[in-house]
């Protein structure tokens, strides 16, 4: 797969955008500006970025509790996201959803999801709609290593193969489901090995190498678009932060985290792009300060927006 310079730069920007957003959210959470449960994507940016690079607004994704990265990579507006995290009326969900329920159906984002394993059946459903309507769309289901043990995931994959649905299941194997290490929660070394149970292709990629992710995803997505059915891509990655903000992480070794920080997807792409002179120090600074500015704007927008009015409490339950 030959990625253009523009594509490579786009991915670099997207990964940084996610990182910048997440780091700022961590601070805002610590400052008490953002309530509830917040699950950050720091360290896993290459997955959403590499996958969404091959998707259009016609395509669907289902996300998870750890959804900010997916949303940003699929084109989500960080202003509306930040306002939602603050619980403001101007947020993506008018403040009703919060971090775990942000959606943008115009962009095909079928929502973050607070239920582990909630997304796979929804993704198969979106794929069914694409197939039924014959509109060339595909659906991508992001799900965690923990979610792969849920019955719903099994059911959705089986149904997707039976109906040859245009869906790609993208597993984000960050080795943990809260404190539960994959070594204790499953006996197979690779989640991709489970694809064989449905007779769909299953591949393992380095989830911290955005180019590798992008190539594997492009193949799965084009396969789906051509009507050849679903596939499973397992991206091996790691989360740098706790499961949610506030997690003391007593269940894992610092050294493990350090090892994975060495494999941080952002410096890796950065180095590669500097080698081929797509990036320079100046360009990097420009990108990063641009993102900082966007982030500050988003934060200001969120900060200055009003909370929803109590009269809105029971609106939006039914059409």
């Amino acid at each position: 797969m030959d990625l253009t310079n523009e594509q490579l730069l786009d991915m670099y920007v997207t990964m940084n955008k996610i990182r910048t957003f997440e780091n700022r959210v961590a601070e805002l959470f610590a400052d008490g500006k953002i309530p509830g449960f917040v699950h950050l994507y720091v360290g896993e940016e290459a997955v959403a970025t590499g996958v969404c690079a091959s998707l259009t607004d016609q395509d669907y994704i289902t996300s998870t509790h750890r959804g900010h990265g997916h949303l940003i990579a699929k084109g989500g507006d960080i202003k509306l996201m930040m306002a939602e995290l603050f619980g403001k009326k101007t947020g993506y969900c008018k403040g009703k959803g919060g971090s775990m329920h942000i959606a943008d159906l115009n962009l095909g984002i079928m929502g973050a999801n607070g239920i582990v394993g909630g997304g796979p059946p929804l993704a198969s459903g979106a794929a069914l709609a694409c197939q039924y309507l014959g509109n060339d769309g595909v659906a991508v289901c992001f799900f965690g290593d923990g979610a792969s043990n849920q019955g719903t995931t099994h059911e959705a994959m089986n149904l997707a193969t039976c109906w040859k649905l245009p869906v790609v299941f993208v597993n984000e194997n960050n080795m943990y489901g809260i404190s539960s290490c994959t070594l204790n929660s499953m006996c197979v070394p690779n989640i991709a090995d489970r694809a064989a149970a449905y007779d769909m292709p299953g591949v393992v990629v380095d989830g911290n190498d955005v180019i590798a992710v992008c190539e594997a995803a492009a193949e799965g997505i084009s396969r789906a678009r051509q009507g050849k059915g679903p596939s499973l891509i397992e991206c091996k990655t790691y989360r740098h932060r706790g499961h949610f903000e506030g997690d003391p992480c007593a269940y894992r070794e610092d050294s493990e985290l350090e090892e994975w920080k060495e494999k941080d997807p952002i410096p890796r792409l950065e180095q590669k792009l500097m080698e081929i002179e797509l990036l320079t120090d100046a360009k990097i600074n420009e990108i990063k300060s641009g993102l900082q500015k966007d982030m500050a704007d988003a934060e200001q927008f969120a900060e200055e927006s009003p909370f929803p009015d109590v009269s809105e409490l029971t609106e939006d339950v039914y059409t």
Binding site: T62, M110, I115, G125, A129, A139, A156, L159
Partner: protein, 324 residues
């Protein structure tokens, strides 16, 4: 108006709607070749083909969840889940996803889907194939809950359900499938939230649902012979519930007996009683009584199963008690 049974009326509703709207698909276990375990989807596969009538593997979470996803992305799924008892393996996709998505997304989703399920005792199907669980669905904001008692209501309410842009739980009591009645032809709907007075009366209001409407009607006949005039009110939809209709009837009769086949404790009748005890308290001349199933799973053995199902006699007794 042609005569048909409850199952045929439902079948007819499917056909009317599927002919009208190409984005409606039907899915579920054995809905295609088999035509549905109770025959409700018979002939649909032949008429509409397997793109629109989809047999599924045994995988209820995926069936429901796929419908939710498809509905959100533009289709209008009509799902048969067979027995309502099976909702336990698929509830999350119904109540945490379908019911809440619109709200969680700040109003931006539309999830037009119907989940049809058969409920009720009477055929010796035992504890895992005979439950009535309408109270559970009533309590979940985001869902509408329909429970028809006649072929005509079944058809008009199902068409309404299919056209509704919200997830609708459609409960079909299995003892009703063979019930015959006149059914309006072609395209017609019955609006949700309008109770139907199945029998007018002056002395006591009997609110009854599904199969119990008929038991209540025959109890009312017998009561008439004893000089008691009972009004039988069928809510038809439990959410939205026609509070006003029920309250109006109670304001007229001053007495209320509620009948349902669900277990009494924390059943749908509790909500109706609570509403009346709040909003029509001053009109009540007697305690509110509920006639409903006892607090146990549905037994298999026929004499026990018959004793489990609320009877005409129990209704008559309750009415006589509130008339004292």
């Amino acid at each position: 108006m042609p005569n048909m049974n409850f199952a045929q009326a439902l079948n007819d509703a499917h056909k009317v709607e599927m002919e009208r709207d190409a984005n409606i698909y039907v899915a579920g276990e054995d809905v295609g070749v088999y035509g549905g375990i109770f025959g409700v989807t018979a002939g649909l596969l032949d008429q509409f083909g397997d793109k629109r009538v989809k047999d599924t593997p045994i995988t209820e979470s995926a069936i429901v969840g796929t419908a939710v996803g498809a509905a959100t992305a533009g289709l209008r799924p009509v799902i048969e889940l067979m027995f309502v008892d099976f909702i336990g393996v698929a509830l999350d996709q119904l109540y945490n996803q379908a019911a809440k998505m619109k709200y969680m997304f700040g109003g931006k989703a539309k999830i037009p889907m119907v989940l049809r399920m058969t409920c009720g005792a009477g055929i010796g199907a035992a504890a895992q194939h005979s439950q009535c669980l309408e109270a559970m669905f009533m309590h979940l904001p985001g869902l509408k809950v329909v429970m028809p008692s006649t072929p005509n209501d079944a058809k008009g309410l199902l068409i309404e359900a299919i056209r509704d842009d919200n997830p609708v739980v459609f409960l079909e009591h299995k003892m009703l499938y063979a019930l015959e009645g006149e059914v309006a032809e072609g395209d017609f709907t019955i609006p949700f939230g309008q109770a139907d007075i199945k029998r007018e009366g002056q002395d006591v209001t009997i609110v009854a649902t599904a199969n119990m409407v008929h038991t209540a009607l025959s109890a009312a006949e017998k009561l008439a012979a004893d000089g008691i005039s009972a009004e039988v009110v069928d809510p038809r939809t439990l959410y939205p519930l026609d509070e006003e209709g029920i309250i109006q009837s109670v304001k007229k009769t001053h007495r209320l007996v509620i009948v349902h086949e669900e277990v009494k404790f924390a059943g749908s009748g509790a909500e109706i009683a609570a509403i009346v005890a709040e909003k029509a308290f001053d009109y009540l001349d007697a305690p509110i009584l509920r006639v409903a199933a006892p607090f146990c799973p549905v037994p298999f053995s026929q004499p026990l199963e018959q004793a489990f199902i609320p009877s005409e006699e129990e209704i008559i007794d309750a009415v006589k008690k509130v008339m004292e």
